[in-house]
Amino acid sequence: MSYPVEQNEKFTAYANPERLVSTEWLAAAIEGGALNDGKLVVVESDEDVLLYETGHIPGAVKVDWHTDLNDEVTRDYVDGNAFAALAAAKGISRDTTVVIYGDKSNWWAAYALWVFTLFGHEDVRLLDGGRDKWIAEGRELTTDVPAPAAGDYPVVERNDAPIRAFKDDVLAHLGKPLIDVRSPEEYTGQRTHMPAYPEEGALRGGHIPTAASIPWARAAAEDGTYRTRPELEALYLGEAGLTEGDDVVAYCRIGERSSHTWFALKYLLGFETVRNYDGSWTEWGNAVRVPIVKGAERGSVPAGAR
């Protein structure tokens, strides 16, 4: 870790406190000139592609989850060449400490952090509370877009296996814990939508057999920060029934909301093996002959489903 890690009581209770920074910490670091030499780079990643342009943390660069991190043709993330070019253009080197923040309780920021982790970027952290907390505290915003000196980023091949699950991995995983982070309506398959507005995202509704329903936002407090360790334990160890050492897969619709949960399980609660199934419901709900459970019950794995 190249930039000093924040120490505070809330973070210390987490398994990997070095993965979070507070707004106070970031404001002080910026004030102290941390952004001047490329050691620390602040990245904003939002759902809304224009939000950064309306005002952002001074010195922050923008990474759009879709246009920058997804391959334009294949449903996959960018390759090592494209990622190296993106990072360098944003002033990020391989040893840079990257702090990512965004809108909606860091939903998209966590997704960007997960993609950085696919490339093995070592020191990448989330701003606890994200954009909304920074603004709620009346901290400085600017519309000035920085022009950072190019970073020095090697072409690194993505290493998906440790943190990314594909459909076949999920089929092989059936019987082990799954967390469905979508809304209860999506989980049960009773998706609410207006008449004459067919849901185009998936041909089938419901959830993957045995998945526990823990909507992603329950891991966030009202101010968008992550809940405390005891609160997260009540949610995932208590309600979802995970036990220490479990091999867990989280999913949602396209893998964004589940990145937020992935972060909580991996870094805040310290589960070693947590994978995000980014194919998620837009793949599973359209795939032929995969098992699906409808309704509020978790259901069981049908014989021969694996």
Binding site: D48, V49, L50, E53, T67, D103
Partner: protein, 153 residues
């Protein structure tokens, strides 16, 4: 796709977008988001009079009203939108539809092709997922206008 069925104001907006490079198109959309008028007071305190377009990733509410003059000419439709400032893309497209369609007749609005949002040349920059909310917004306006026009005929 062609712009032949577009009302004049909307056709001009489409031409403006198409004349720009992709980053400048995003800037123009941002300007439209800033130009979206506030709700009039009579609607501001009555959220129940607005309908949410659920396909938009961010909350977007809209409603329509008709204005009829005494001469018996077709009624003009007024459009009203509400979207939070933290949803500039959604607001921007609402701004485009407001400037392009506000004050037109049912016939003119219903003639706008459903895939008109594609004409702005933003699909790559904004992504198909985000464009879907925009298409839904136009669809909702057209359905409300069609229903209202049926009632009046």
């Amino acid at each position: 796709m062609s712009t032949y069925a577009l009302p004049t104001a909307l056709a001009e907006i489409v031409d403006d977008f198409q004349a720009l490079t992709e980053p400048d198109r995003l800037q123009l959309l941002l300007e439209f988001s800033r130009a979206l008028p506030e709700l009039p007071e009579r609607l501001r305190d009555h959220p129940e009079l607005l309908e949410q377009v659920v396909e938009c990733q961010s909350p977007l509410f809209l409603t329509i009203e008709t204005e009829k003059d005494d001469a018996g000419s077709p009624a003009a439709f007024r459009l009203f939108f509400k979207a939070p400032p933290e949803a500039p893309t959604t607001r921007g497209f609402a701004g485009v539809l407001h400037e392009g369609l506000d004050g037109l007749t049912a016939e003119e609005i219903l003639a706008v092709p459903d895939d008109m949002p594609e004409l702005l040349g933003l699909t790559r920059a904004i992504t198909p997922l985000r464009m879907r909310g925009m298409t839904a917004m136009l669809g909702r306006i057209k359905r409300k206008v069609a229903a209202s026009a049926r009632l009046q005929s």
